[in-house]
């Protein structure tokens, strides 16, 4: 009996280790992965307004081509803003605007085609916009809801995002935050209907478009002069 109980325990242990247990752990944040102890003590209040760093941020997308591979692209020209509330993240907001003229899938005729009325119709609809209306926390997951406007069509979408971490401000640089998100939209919801179905049933260009946001944004606060802080204690 003891032996069986032991085996049972062992079985359960193994089960826990190899199955869901590790998935329930919150994915380690950047601070947890790289922290040297002082990151834990990073008591900085990162509440601030952050502007997208256009050099390091990517507003990317991907479509499946002929059912075979993903063809990626991005919007090169954009601006965006995050109002981050460190005390209550659900009070944060984000908005950004992309210039469709800057769409880039590797250049050439495809980018020209994307700007035509078959796709984005840039002559009429110059901008892609997103403006959040709600930020929620569901368990470990953060969700943002907002209005996405493409080609003049506005839809409310909700998708998960992650705060990748923060880098404290220095005397020479603003604080910096990283945010990542990935979601999928159906381009036909926004009137981007171009494309046909191949004889084998695969779509020339998938309806589903994966959106991949890799956002680095810089704040407005710089640290108080270093001298004043310490002698007080």
């Amino acid at each position: 009996m003891k032996r069986t109980a032991f085996l049972l325990g062992l079985g359960l242990l193994v089960f826990f280790i190899f199955s869901g247990f590790d998935k329930q752990w919150p994915a380690p944040s950047i601070a947890q992965s790289f922290g040297r102890g002082d990151d834990k003590k990073d008591k900085t209040d990162y509440t601030d307004t952050y502007s997208f760093d256009t050099a390091n941020s990517t507003i990317g997308f991907r479509v499946k081509h002929m059912g075979l591979v993903d063809v990626p692209g991005c919007i090169r020209e954009f601006k965006g803003r995050i109002s981050y509330d460190a005390g209550d993240v659900t009070r944060s907001s984000v908005e950004f605007t992309g210039d469709v003229m800057s769409i880039d899938t590797g250049g050439g005729p495809r980018d020209t085609h994307l700007k035509s009325s078959d796709f984005f119709d840039v002559a009429k609809y110059k901008l892609i916009q997103f403006k959040s209306s709600k930020v929620e926390k569901k368990g470990e997951e953060l969700l943002v809801t907002g209005e996405l406007i493409i080609k003049g069509t506005s839809k409310t979408i909700t998708f998960p995002f992650k705060i990748a971490g923060f880098i404290p401000a220095t005397e020479n640089a603003w604080a910096r935050m990283g945010v990542t998100a990935e979601t999928t939209i159906n381009r036909r919801d926004y009137g981007l209907n171009y494309g046909s179905t191949l004889p084998n049933g695969a779509m020339l260009i998938s309806d589903e478009v994966r959106i991949d946001l890799q956002i680095e944004a810089t704040g407005t606060k710089k640290p108080a002069p270093a001298v004043a802080a310490e002698p007080k204690e």
Binding site: F18, M66, V69, A164, G165
Partner: protein, 239 residues
């Protein structure tokens, strides 16, 4: 006692279901996912011999890379200018080969100043090393995964690397030939190739990660062409 063994049994069963089989499900290939098991579907009956030479379709092929910036997010880039060839052996995939060359100077990360920096000796040193090349030496099947081994040359340093790839599928022959799709992802340490630029932040995080994720989304054209219109679409009759 019986009860205990019963519970143990359940635990082991659950272990089996939630661990191994889950992983396998993720690795289903395109064909497994989309080709029905029944014999009725046309796709199932595609008996075309896709053996042949395929050239990378420049408009639909993506040779991309990503680095982690300041430990925060990923900054992607890709090579705009490249050529590549797949020699596909349908009967024995392990006899297939692939090679490609990317022009180092065509690296595009969306920011001109950064792209110019990448051309400097600190990074690719494009004047001395204009090309980045890969030439396969071995194709193997390990379990359900296909593995590709080959010589990867970056900045004049050649290393043998092995990584998994996936033959996504084929489009049946038209007059101009067939089309195949291949995807692969791997990562390399850029310092192995002498690309050593970049320091650490005060927190110890690298400004530019050593690890570089490489993403290949390859569409290649070639292989068998459709026989004159009459035979097009009909399964090739085996002699």
């Amino acid at each position: 006692m019986k009860r205990a063994s019963f519970l143990l049994g359940i635990a082991l069963f659950a272990l089996f279901i939630f661990s191994n089989s889950g992983t396998e499900a993720v690795n289903l290939s395109f064909t497994e996912k989309f080709a029905p098991k029944g014999g009725d579907d046309k796709k199932k009956k595609d008996t075309t011999d896709y053996t042949g030479t395929y050239n990378f379709d420049k408009a639909h092929t993506f040779i991309g890379f990503k680095v982690k910036h300041m430990g925060l997010i990923e900054v992607p880039g890709f090579f705009r200018d490249f050529t590549g060839t797949v020699n596909y052996d349908a009967k024995d995939v392990t006899k297939s080969t692939v090679e490609f060359t990317a022009k180092a100077t065509s690296a595009d990360t969306g920011v001109a100043a950064r792209d110019n920096h990448l051309k400097k000796p600190e990074f690719f040193d494009v004047e001395k090393y204009p090309e980045i090349t890969f030439k396969s030496t071995k194709v193997e099947k390990k379990g359900k995964n296909w593995m590709l081994t080959g010589d990867f040359t970056l900045k004049g340093v050649t290393k043998s690397i092995t990584f998994p790839f996936n033959v996504v599928g084929f489009l049946p022959p038209g007059e101009r030939g067939s089309k195949m799709g291949i995807t692969a992802e791997t990562s390399i340490n850029r310092r192995d190739y002498g690309v050593t630029y970049g320091g650490n932040l005060p927190s110890g995080v690298a400004a530019v990660s050593d690890n570089v994720t490489i993403t290949l989304q390859i569409e290649a054209n070639g292989g068998p062409k459709a026989a004159a219109a009459a035979g097009a679409g009909a399964p090739a009759a085996k002699p």
